[in-house]
């Protein structure tokens, strides 16, 4: 009996470790993200820098269609001031309409607009990128096994292909990409963006910042979730203790122990 039970527990352990392994075929680079853990929160500076990397580098190909410019000023996000967010929105041209004459027209973006899509439609996106659709980045962190660590690893995983691997034109070798082949050229290079806050724009720094930003984009209420979660669990623990003693009290009428 004991033996079988111990076998089951061992099995569950193996199962867990195996599942973890199969999710990440090779060991991903691990970053000690500030948003992990019970009290994890985003680093505002990193979010703002990450937005800058996204908008200056990624956004030329990758859409982010579920986010609006107002989100940039939201609590728990990059927390740009309302004026800054308005200015950011206004820097984009939005096609609106039809107006009263039935004409489409262009206007500067507003806070309520969704992030402007770099392409008119998915087909244009594909044809402009050698047939590979640059995935929408709104929930990209949640859409990849390994999440933030995976994206960080891919951004740092570009290297020369091993001798036995032939690459077609427009295909690049990446250590961490599934199948090791990726149609996106290495997007980052030291100093490719110039940070306003004076942080040095190394590949490592930019990839951390942009992944932090993408994690927030995928999970904009993460900070609230962590905050409420802690309260809920503490509340439940206290209540369980109280109910436990009530239970002892009630059952003591029948017998000393439950």
């Amino acid at each position: 009996m004991k033996k079988i039970k111990s076998i089951i527990f061992t099995f569950i352990l193996i199962l867990n470790s195996n599942l973890a392994l199969s999710a990440e075929k090779i060991d991903l680079l691990k970053v000690d993200w500030s948003f992990n853990g019970l009290f994890g929160t985003f680093d505002r500076g990193s979010l703002q820098r990450g937005y800058q990397v996204y908008t200056e580098v990624c956004a030329s190909c990758h859409s982010m269609k579920h986010l609006s410019y107002r989100n940039l000023a939201q609590e728990g996000g990059p927390e740009f001031s309302l004026e800054e967010a308005k200015a950011i929105a206004a820097s984009f041209i939005v096609v609106d309409g039809p107006d009263e004459y039935g004409e489409m027209f262009e206007r500067p973006g507003k806070l309520s607009d969704k992030f402007v899509n770099p392409y008119l439609n998915d087909n244009e996106a594909k044809s402009a990128n050698g047939g590979a659709y640059p995935p929408d980045m709104s929930v990209l962190v949640k859409a990849r096994g390994g999440g933030a660590n995976y994206l960080y690893s891919v951004l740092n995983g570009y290297e020369e292909p091993p001798a036995n691997i032939e690459l077609d034109d427009g295909v690049y070798y990446n250590k961490y990409m599934y199948g090791n082949k990726i149609k996106m050229a290495n997007p980052l290079d030291d100093g490719i963006v110039e940070y306003n806050d004076g942080t040095e724009a190394t590949i490592d720094q930019m990839s951390k910042d942009v992944v932090t930003f993408l994690t927030w984009a995928a999970e904009p209420h993460l900070e609230t979730r962590h905050r409420i979660g802690f309260k809920v669990i503490v509340y439940l623990i206290i209540l369980s203790i109280l109910v436990y003693f009530s239970m002892k009290r009630i059952w003591s009428r029948i017998e000393p122990k439950v």
Partner: protein, 421 residues
Amino acid sequence: MSDHDYTPSSKFGKWFNDRLPLLTLGKHLTDYPTPKNLNYWWTFGGILTFCLITQIITGLVLAMHYIAHADLAFASVEHIMRDVNYGWLLRYVHANGASMFFLAVYIHIFRSLFYGSYKSPREIIWILGIIIYVLMMAAAFMGYVLPWGQMSFWGATVITNLFSAIPFVGESVVTWLWGGYSVDNPTLTRFFALHYLIPFLILGLVVLHIWALHVPGNNNPIGIDLQKPSKDTVPFHPYIVVKDLFALLLFMIVFAFFVFYSPNILGHADNYIEADPLVTPTHIVPEWYLLPFYAILRSVPDKLMGVIAMFAAIGVLAILPWLDTSKIRSAVFRPLYRQFYWILVLDVLILGYVGAMPAEGLYLLVARVATAYYFAHFLIILPLLGKKERTLPLPLSLTEPVLGGSVAMSAAKHKSEKNNL
């Protein structure tokens, strides 16, 4: 249930109760004599009721914001996650709630298997339970389709395609299920309608399940029939209520941990990619709670036989009360059955594990052995075991110690009661 002579104290209460005996029902529920030796494995009935109600309430609010349309569903889920007040909380509670629901139902079912709760006179309770379980799987499967992610779409394609294995009419049945020639908008809208309907069917069956339970009363860890009410029982309220509440709170702590700290760990990352009929995911896997059945399905080389095996795996549970020939309920007094019980638990875990792996090589072999053993347990081992096994002596009641010769006595008692029923 019927032998209540309850008279409400107030005049209005009496007037009302004479016309609709709700107060008598309330009195019955609070007084309901419950074995006092129930352990914590018996608290999962209450926990499951909580799960069902949580799913219905969160689901109701989610349905107010969700749009069942192939072009809009994914975006409407993102709208819920981002813009609806506490929408993220509702959705994560609902999605993880499904997993918690299945976790609890598996414990509930395996508790029943260990203590022989499915045996006479509780066969109807058991069968109702199995129907509820099947409906839960249907509801969960359809619910998983609604976000219209990659796993939603391809999971729906794989599962509905199973029906094409039906001889002659298979293809037509699948077209009928889809409402077209592939999984598309009509499939999504009908799944949404059914996903909304099924929980209420489950709710009705739960009422019957509890009603059927209240006829013979609870089984207990010793598995003997108890005098009710007697020194062996306690009134449901407050004794069982407070114990169920305590267990529920512990369960809610686990639940909350998933919802607040790893809300996506039980789901598949691919479901955050919008459905694309032109791109097939590398591995199509169902949610964890369906994996053992998925393993059984894939372990049979023939499609039709695989589907039959999968449904038979559930069907065999429905006839379990007649497959298990042992008169002794609780595994506590069945040393051999206890061993086989734990092997079955291990077997189902193995099935679940290989269900998540690609169906090839060693995994496939293991899946086949485990599938064969699963059926052997119910169809060969249990019928034989009841006849061969030497069981331990049963006590006559919870308070009396085991007396010499009590096996014969309790067996006689058991027999006479059976005859009475």
